[in-house]
Subunit: 705 residues, 2 copies
């Protein structure tokens, strides 16, 4: 080789080295997903993602605007890159499957910003079903304490996708999902922002996560975050000219977006991708991006099937409040001297009826709301010292109910409505948890209804994210399980803190009594809200016309009765409520049998069919058994669901009990028309089942031993 | 009498009746003060105050602007009036005198606002030395929960008074007092607002309370508040055209000024008046307006004379921090693996030296600052989890020091610097107090340096007033005494909560090391800051040139040594620090003898002479003895103080030890020139004592038995 040739070769090699020093590529284990990272002209970090050769995320910027400090947006050099592989399996304490495989290829890029002498790390983990990436801020001389003005993470989309979206909001997720193209978001935002007692939208094109999308060529894309700890919740701002989403963090009372102390990191930003809708539902990436649990003993953590003194108040039949005063002062008002309103449901006698029902039907617990002093004036008054979480109403006998429940092997589920008076809750937290332990409660439903106190903070800001975490970790010290309502939507933290059983954090069944949910609501939620963790959806309403309980309430549940059964399978949660009243269930014992039988913990899960907004059919294997449960939900159109029971064991026989819509069923016009049939099935059996508009079916498949 | 005469008589009578139905008059028990209340043309409540016929407060408005509700400013009718008298005496747990007489005439005016069907009560209490009045909001149908937009209490002054003022500020009181006419406030405000790590002025003519004034014809007037509980701190806005002061409450993070639930009340607004300056100092009106204590057992509350590991850090000789890291994480940073900086004062050996000194000199306690993890990066970083209040540095042996101190009958005073991370403090409060009890601590100095977290709140807003109160009440549950620094200035709450021994809440001795205080500072503070309660002024600095401790610090204490002794008498507090270092005191044992001898609790107090800004001389009788202590402080001019010891008992003989400035003493040029002389005295003895510029004298008068 001549010198010139060598020289040219050297140049080519250097160029290659230089290119590979600036442009990084990472592939998923199965090679379907490709991540590329590079620096733009101004030294800005840029990433892009493609799936089977199709662009999912076009070149998108990364970085931060800081307050009173130079931004971390450009002027970077790549100081180091490291690639690695991880492949381990782990067992969740509870879950949809017994074993979860955590398999990814990782790229960690150390970026140095010479002008400021600071460096950050961007870590990418590419799974077969998606990408997670986060920012890391190692301890270093020139980056110590810093305040985030805004995170500037872009997700440049490859098209005007169909999206299943909620308005971006710093305080509520309780909106109905709007299904539209991204280009239509702006025009539909006004109608989408329905009233809520605590809400704060930030943009005409602001969106919440999890955000579910489907491209025109059939790619399913879900954007969310994982491991949201000590950081502000991410929403997305849509630039609907370019179809670029950009992160928007939730501000605090003075407009700052995050207070950071190095060494620290952001949550993982997640992009789950597949050409199969079912893969989105089955993704464990968000869980996998969370840290393993450090809990030494998890034996006290058990899934719960429960009923509750709740729906009768939601419908307006009963009240949380004991009397009709409009002004009470804890520790001052002598409730025993007031006139009860005669509609207070959480009284000893009534609670015992629920306990009896739970015991008769093998349910684990009875939630009781309205047991404690303070409900007369708790709502909408920005009241600071609103509850003390330990003082019962005169008609709720704590000790007697403890004894009675224990004698029936039923737990009472505690209720801590905080009324968003968060300092007040924290002041009482140890006392409240100790009260629970002393009186036999091992699980609490907490709530954050109303605007946050301290005023100016938002439900999803760093301040409150820190609080929810504090409540969960302290609960674990007391071996208490938590079901937090109106709190931040989950981001897979249950892996690390398995006592966080569920959240609400979306528009749940209660809204069926507040005007109704869309008939397709539950064909969407698993693709959106449930991506980060279980939802306490509280299904199981059999008496769908609310006027049956409260003549003044004309709402109705937009669901057939059969579909209500299906939800125990399609809306995964380790905490499942049979939300209707015992006396109603007793009128439909044959249908209720499914709720008695259905498991709340699983060894395996399959998506039999799914299309967001249209239908979802799951099959799940009950933990420690060979029994399966199938559930199917569909939209307002109704359909015929055809599934193959090929997940059954080849050498076993089963009895399948099918709870289905009657042929004339309709979620509004004829919701209670259901049929139950028993059939023998074995592996490979095909089922073709009619689903009414707003309907579905549920099947228990019990091994014949 | 003719019919016409009767008719005229009737009209006169009705007119008189009508007048007296609208105009109310109240007199002090000695008749010197007259309060008049009436309704103005628009039904606005108006009050005025005069003293010995001279106007003190010209007709001034009262009322409130509410948020999202009709104002409570006008449209009132007088629905009821009640006059009463109260005359009782009570014994404070600690104080300047043994018995306090509470003697006032009261007028309670019920005002109804027909347009809104609401009513309030304005209650006036007229003492011989001043007026207190407050608003009350009884429980009623149309006034339940309400938010204050602003309180609109006026104090229309009768002239352009000389005022001793601090800039109105929502976060700090650590300004030097400016002495000027009210008309000069605007022009002097800029210079008055010196830098502070947490400050928020609100107006070019905004003022803090207590506000001390002197009219041109020699009337002393002091405005403040009493019983500030669950309400926002009041500052004053001066309209310098009309010489009208108006209340300005401290806003919260969203600009609201108070969240109220009826039945409730505002604090008392107080106007202390006399033509004798000494009467202002002796006033007990603010204490009297507070509720009696409900504490059943107060035996654990005892005044404290203490030294402390503190001044050596304030001067810069030592550090609070253990090492020189700029970033620590509690529970993560392993301090035992870090390199100590060699200047950490709060180590076991050094603390024992202070304990020895305290034991040798009959002092009660040793304050130790910098004993706990977290001081390396606590300041100015808005750090949330900044201290845990229980984890000592590696060189501070909690158990050993507990044992050692107890063996010497000395207490260690706990230190809780919160760094204004208030949620963090509350989260740790029970644990921190329990740690104190378990380790022999019965008193805590707390601090709130820096901007408040939750961000957006202010040191003096309702949110923080509520927090300080929470900390005091919880401390009482643990039998802990509290000395709160950087918290709200006191308003007499120690009557109700006698475990609140003192606050800082003003510019104290530490500022002598941060550039110095004015030489007349202590001739003003008793007329201003001390009106609401004791100040932990921490006097007793003998080595007044800070460079003796830290060559890099050129500050000096603007005081002679003799005046430092006087401050133990002139700056009343049940908690008194001998702030200098033991090794310095050991060089001046003769002068230190006064600090050993002076009492911290009193049976009687006399003002021998006083003029705000010029000089104050107090005499106090030590509790349970016949001994007296005299202290005199003067301004930068120096003077000769002539006093009469006519308060001594007639039939007793005493030895007076006089600690005075040397003839050439000067606070800057020759501060340590002092002379000590012993003389026999008896009742009626006259003393004529030279006081140097920035000087004074201290006298112990011990009974010869």
């Amino acid at each position: 080789m001549t010198n010139i040739s060598k020289f040219i070769l050297l140049i080519c090699f250097c160029y290659t080295t230089t290119s590979s020093a600036s442009a990084q590529e990472l592939r998923s284990p199965d090679n379907n997903l490709t991540l590329k990272f590079s620096l733009g002209n101004t030294g800005s970090p840029v990433y892009q993602l493609s799936y089977k050769g199709k662009s999912v995320i076009k070149p998108s910027n990364l970085g931060f605007q800081l307050k009173n400090a130079a931004d971390l947006l450009n002027g970077f050099e790549i100081a180091d890159t490291k690639q690695s592989t991880f492949d381990e399996s782990w067992k969740p304490v509870w879950g949809e499957v017994k074993i979860i495989r955590n398999h990814y290829n990782e790229l960690a890029v150390t970026l140095k910003q010479p002008a400021s002498d600071r460096f950050i790390v961007v870590r990418f983990r590419l799974f077969n079903d998606g990408l997670g990436f986060r920012y890391e801020f190692p301890q270093q001389k020139n980056l110590n304490y810093f305040t985030i003005k805004e995170e500037k993470t872009q997700f440049a989309l490859a098209g005007d996708h169909k999206a299943f979206w909620l308005p971006g909001d710093y305080d509520t997720q309780e909106y109905s999902t709007t299904t539209s193209n991204l280009s239509e978001v702006r025009g539909k935002m006004k109608a989408a922002v329905t009233p809520n007692v605590s809400q704060k939208t930030f943009s005409e094109t602001g969106l919440q996560t999890p955000l579910m999308m489907k491209s025109k060529d059939g790619l399913y894309i879900n954007i969310h975050e994982a491991a949201l700890i000590n950081y502000s919740t991410m929403s997305l701002e849509l630039n609907d000219k370019d179809m670029v989403l950009e992160s928007v963090l939730t501000p605090d009372a003075i407009g700052d977006k995050g207070y950071m102390q190095a060494p620290t990191q952001s949550p993982w930003r997640t992009i789950i991708v597949s050409d199969k809708a079912g893969d989105i539902l089955m993704s464990k990436t968000i869980l996998n991006l969370n840290e393993p649990t450090k809990f030494k003993d998890t034996s006290w953590i058990k899934p719960i099937k429960y009923v509750g003194v709740w729906w009768e108040m939601i419908t307006g039949k009963s009240t949380w409040a004991y009397n009709d005063l409009d002004n009470v002062q804890l520790g001052v008002t002598d409730y025993s001297k007031t006139t009860p309103n005669g509609k207070h449901a959480a009284n000893t006698k009534r609670v015992k009826e629920y306990i009896d029902f739970a015991a008769e039907n093998g349910l684990d617990a009875v939630l009781v709301e309205g047991w404690n002093e303070g409900w007369e004036d708790w709502f909408g008054k920005t009241k600071d010292y609103v509850f003390d979480f330990v003082t019962p109403y005169p008609d709720f006998d704590v000790k007697e109910l403890h004894r009675y429940a224990a004698s029936k092997n039923v737990k009472i589920m505690m209720h801590h409505e905080t009324s968003s008076s968060v300092r007040n809750y924290e002041r009482h937290l140890d006392t409240a948890y100790k009260f629970m332990v002393d009186n036999g409660y091992n699980a609490v439903k907490s709530g954050y209804v109303g605007n946050i106190i301290p005023r100016g903070e938002h439900h999803y800001g760093q301040w409150l994210v820190n609080h929810y975490q504090y409540a969960i970790e302290k609960a674990a010290e007391y071996k208490i399980m938590v079901n937090a309502h109106e709190a931040v939507r989950p981001t897979g933290l249950s892996r690390t803190y398995p006592n966080l059983l569920a959240n609400e954090a979306a528009r749940g069944t209660e809204y069926e009594a507040f005007g109704g949910n869309n008939a397709d609501h539950t064909t969407i939620l698993p693709f959106t809200r449930l991506m980060g963790g279980p939802m306490d959806y509280t299904p199981g309403i059999f008496e769908t016309k609310i006027s049956a309980y409260n003549p003044e309430n004309n709402s109705f549940v937009h669901s057939t009765l059969a579909r209500q059964l299906a939800l125990y399978v399609t809306m995964y949660s380790p905490l499942q409520m049979a939300a209707d009243l015992p006396e109603t269930y007793n009128k439909y014992k044959d249908a209720f049998q499914f709720i008695k039988d259905v498991a709340v913990d699983w060894d395996d899960t399959k998506v039999l069919e799914a299309e967001p907004g249209d239908y979802i059919t799951f099959a799940r294997k009950a933990k420690g058994t060979n029994n399966w449960f199938v559930g199917s939900t569909c939209d307002e159109n109704g359909r015929t669901s055809t599934v193959n029971l090929d997940f059954l064991d080849a050498n076993k026989k089963y009895i399948a009990t099918v709870y289905a819509d009657g042929k004339d069923a309709h979620y509004e016009l004829n919701p209670k028309a259901y049929v139950i049939k028993k059939i023998n099935v074995k592996k490979g059996a095909k089922l073709s089942q009619y689903c009414a508009p707003g309907g579905g079916y549920a099947i228990s498949i019990i091994e014949i031993k």
